[in-house]
Amino acid sequence: MRRMLVAVASGIALLSGPLAAHHATAVFDLGKRLTLTGTVTEWFWANPHCLLRFDVKSDSGETTHWVAETQAPPNMTPFGWSKQSFGVGDQVTVILEPVKNGQPLGRILQVKLPDGKTLVAGAPAIPAGGAQQ
């Protein structure tokens, strides 16, 4: 079974790498994934990208203010996202691809909501800049 998991993981790595890289964007640490659990402080449903702001507390009690982007609203609604997806104070678990420079910024791949549901960010074709997607 362990070997199977390795095989599955390898398959994911092989398949996801080149396709994700197809939409290479300059600022992201492509292929890196972080899983963060925190508290929503703002859900900015806007163009050119929506932003989810959330605070993550370390074991020592220090808080980091994360900002994670998605694509523009019309490209998120097909995947079940809406202006009402998050409320301030929601506890969420975010999987994101962080930026390269170490700032607490990234683009969202998926978010687990307080009710256990998961929102997936659809196409990871999220541009580095203000280009409307």
Binding site: H23, F44, L51, S58, A128
Partner: protein
């Protein structure tokens, strides 16, 4: 990256130590079967996970819209004569129109077959453009893409980048196309007028028309070449707009040819050809028979606006710190 903020370095859920084994782990199989089982299960699981990982392949379904995959094996009725009106969406999913890396038929991906036939002047203009996508992308802080600041994307960028639904309205003298993004619209005149003869100082040769000016949306005339094919020619463009999201430039000599073919009652194919003798040595096809599917007349086209104040907040909170 700071550590200790609840960060884990893996994006996908692992089976915790001591947790229940995954389904299938208790199958009684021999060594040979197991050899086959492992790759089979691996492929199956990857396939199941792939919508999560490989988002590009997920059908991008606008609420209320229908796609070809909703009608497997169903044959459409014959095409109506000289009619391209209706609300149209990409037949294979809304993602077809995003074209993040440039015009769909000629993406900016570094492949020799997608190298555009630049003139020296065209190459110079392309080099001067700094897109955030495609083969020559730069970090957002360095871009000179006119669109993030909400300058008009113009035509043909409206169909070569972030294209979504279109509504086509036909009148006795016009074909009007309504575009989702920024709620833009174009008029293609079908009243027999001729395109401006001087695209660099363009004006309609009709008494009472506005004075000559280059336009982000150009000047367009159209005609039926047969009962199912409508062709529009456009020129008179303002050269500040880009052709696509990968920074492909155009000059004031740009001439765009749009071909709409009504394939059947449910389908319309669109082809866009770029003809710009100042910047390209020959015409090239930017969209090649991209299929649209007719939607319900009650489908509401979503709103998508470029909002300068939202862009400013996005740049402040994300784009600028990300590019530092």
């Amino acid at each position: 990256m700071n550590s200790g903020f609840g960060v884990r370095d893996s994006g996908f859920e692992k089976t915790p130590e001591g947790a229940d084994p995954p389904v299938g782990a208790d199958l009684k199989v021999g060594p040979y079967s197991r050899t086959l089982l492992i790759p089979t299960l691996a492929v199956a699981i990857v396939t199941l996970l792939s919508p999560v990982i490989l988002g590009q392949q997920v059908l991008r379904r606008t609420p209320g819209a229908v796609y070809d995959s909703d009608f497997p094996g169903k044959k459409s009725a014959p095409a109506p004569r000289r009619d391209i009106s209706g609300i149209w969406e990409f037949a294979n999913g809304g993602g077809e129109g995003i074209q993040a890396d440039g015009a769909k038929a000629m993406p900016s991906d570094g492949k020799p077959e997608h190298e555009l036939p630049f003139t020296p002047e065209g190459r110079k203009a392309f080099t001067a453009n700094k897109p955030t996508f495609g083969f020559t992308q730069v970090p957002s802080a360095l871009t000179n893409d006119p669109m993030p600041g909400c300058d008009p994307q113009g035509f043909p960028r409206i169909v070569l980048h972030n294209a979504h639904h279109e509504q086509i309205i036909q009148t006795a003298t016009q074909v009007v196309i309504l575009y989702q993004f920024n709620k833009k619209w174009r008029t293609i005149w079908t009243d027999g007028r001729k395109l401006p003869s001087n695209p660099e100082v363009p004006a309609w040769d009709i008494k009472g028309s506005p004075p000559a000016e280059a336009r982000f949306w150009g000047y367009s005339v159209g005609r039926w070449v047969d009962d199912y094919t409508f062709v529009a020619d456009s020129n008179g463009f303002d050269d500040r707009s880009w052709l696509d999201n990968a920074g492909r430039p155009h000059s004031d000599a740009l001439h765009v040819i749009e071909t709409y073919r009504r394939v059947d009652a449910d389908h319309l194919e669109k082809t866009i050809t770029i003809d710009d003798p100042k910047y390209y040595t020959r015409p090239w096809v930017a969209l090649d028979k991209i299929p649209y599917r007719l939607q319900s007349p009650s489908l509401e086209i979503p709103e998508q606006e470029c909002v300068p104040s939202e862009t400013a907040k996005y740049n402040q909170l994300f784009a600028n710190p990300a590019a530092k």
